[in-house]
Amino acid sequence: MSKTLFDKVWDTHVVRKIEGGPDVLFIDRHLIHEVTSPVAFLGLKTRGISVLYPNRTFATADHNTPTIHQDQPVADPLSANQLHMLESNSAEYGISHWGLGHQKNGIVHVVGPEYGITQPGATIVCGDSHTSTHGAFGAIAFGIGTSEVEMVLATQCIMQPKPKKMRININGKLGKAVTPKDVALFIISQLTTSGATGYFVEYAGDVFENMTMEGRMTVCNLSIEMGARGGMIAPDETTINYVKGREFSPKGEAWDKALAYYKTLKTDADAVFDKELTFDGATIEPMITYGTNPGMGMGISHDIPDAADVEGGAATYAKSLGYMGFHEGDSMIGKQVDFVFVGSCTNGRIEDFRAFTSLVKGKHKADNVTAWLVPGSHIVEAQIKEEGLLDILTEAGFELRQPGCSACLAMNDDKVPAGKYAVSTSNRNFEGRQGPGSRTMLASPLVAAAAAVTGVVTDPRTLIEELA
């Protein structure tokens, strides 16, 4: 029978099917961090059981870590305690631990791929919804709750009903200043924040085929923001070239065996999806969000739509715009910007900093803007320096912080104050996401750069024209 990419990877990992219930799914790689793992370890201790395969779990600290002075003790006692628990639990159960200060420390969804933990055709879970990132490699990767973290530690399995399958096809040439982030925000704006709930998505078409692995990770990362458990892209030469030779990638004979498996990972020509959508890549503009969920996005040159023209209730829509201090019919161009955040598991990779730097080069940070540039890992941080980007950024009045999740969810001190506006390359614009009362506009690194140098929401295409 014809199978989709998703079917092939899923079916390879089903230990047992339960009649009228979920599948028992074997997990190849498990990533853990300090926030969603302590209660899982506590559960193991309470039950008196151990970790079945410690070498399949990897721990990194990222969610609550400071992004300056990482060589000093963490000031917040609750954060420090979580970091300590991650370290002690990892040591107790024999799990690799990349804590603060470790060379491999960084955002879990950035370092996983960088070190080759992420492999095509693998099943990968983490107590974090943006685990969908790893689907860029043709893996089935999704976020899980802490009860499931405990299951994976104890048995390397979780119990999941098999989701439905959706394919999103986008072909065509992307316009000027349109990045993978814009492609993703465009898709979410079309599907709404719940339009893919219950589905696992495959992204297909030349728009995705032409993307780098970094770009594909940005797209798959945001799958959860339309409700999908995950998204994936079939592995190709780009994928295999990225994976080969990384520290935890298979080597020698194991690589040959893995490669043979990777080459099977594509959707059969006549495989059937439960839902299939097609968009024209040429119609996508640089995007920005205007509301309090990632589905409330639009081309940056558009005006905020009327309640009557969007799906959902008018009361919820009014609450959302009221929170943002925006009105139906407003143009986003020229809106106030107080903070710019570049980073996160969505846009904290080298390509994102290259894009940001390309636009701010020769310009200067606007005085009214506080900019937080936070690399996703030490590798990204080092690349920024080696490629000379840091010199350009410094010249333009920007500083680089140290790796971590930072202002994406503001568990550390990187909080946007109440009422202030942030243009952020992260993934969620929920009320208070970047700090209590903060107001977030999600966008690409190029839109963030345009805001950072002009001090207001600006269409990056106008600045690129100036440069040309």
Binding site: E19, S147, E148, T155, C157, T193, N293, G432, G437
Partner: protein
């Protein structure tokens, strides 16, 4: 089920009859259920205090009078939310905060996947109803805050007791059995550990 109960993971759920708390807002995300700054505990205690923290309290920690959890008119063990309830993060803390506050059932016309799964794993029953029945429930609660709702897990029905209007809801038979008996998935998975180890040995990665 063929596995032995080792740990009582949570309270058993059979039939719940209660008044309900209405929250007719769509896309209630997990950052509203429990903001990230309250995720720093390393034990599963006290999360109910911060359920809906920023909708419930002003920055100076005084209660916001117009928020439903601060309105003594509405009480009960059932939370009725708008469409796409629990979207966003995978934080199980969101489900813990709902449970710890005292809710045992969340009703919505549509749930986000991870939140729904997290609820089922900790003993909060997510009941998905049709948009029409959701409207009826909200209308009934607003008309009479003392109106009672019966959630019957064995029969998979939710009933407005005042009028007898009811709807059936879906739950897979495995999870239903778990909730009825207070079993959890680890009990099951532990019971097939040998099979898992054999399976692992033949995987391509």
């Amino acid at each position: 089920m063929d596995y032995k109960l080792k740990n009582m993971a949570y309270d058993k759920f059979n039939t719940l009859t209660s008044t309900a708390v209405p929250l007719p807002i769509e896309n209630v995300d997990t950052d509203q259920l429990i903001p990230a700054r309250f995720l720093k505990a390393t034990e599963r205690v006290g999360f109910g205090d911060n359920l809906f923290r920023d909708w419930r309290y002003n920055p100076d920690n005084t209660p916001k009078k117009d928020f439903v959890l601060n309105d003594p008119t509405y009480t009960g063990k059932i939370l009725v939310g708008g469409k796409n309830f629990g979207s966003g993060s995978s934080r199980e803390h969101a489900a813990w905060s709902v449970y710890d506050y005292g809710f045992r059932c969340v009703v919505s016309s549509f749930f986000a996947d991870i939140f729904r799964g997290n609820c089922l794993n900790i003993g909060v029953l997510p009941v998905q109803v049709s948009p029409e029945f959701s409207e009826k429930i909200f209308a009934a609660i607003f008309a009479d805050p003392k109106t009672e709702i019966e959630v019957n897990l064995p029969n998979q029905t939710i009933t407005l007791l005042a009028t007898g209007e009811k709807e059936t809801f879906d739950i897979n038979s495995y999870k239903k059995n778990n909730m009825l008996n207070g079993f959890d998935d680890i009990d099951y998975l532990q019971s097939i550990k040998g099979e898992i180890e054999e399976f692992a040995a033949q995987l391509p990665l």
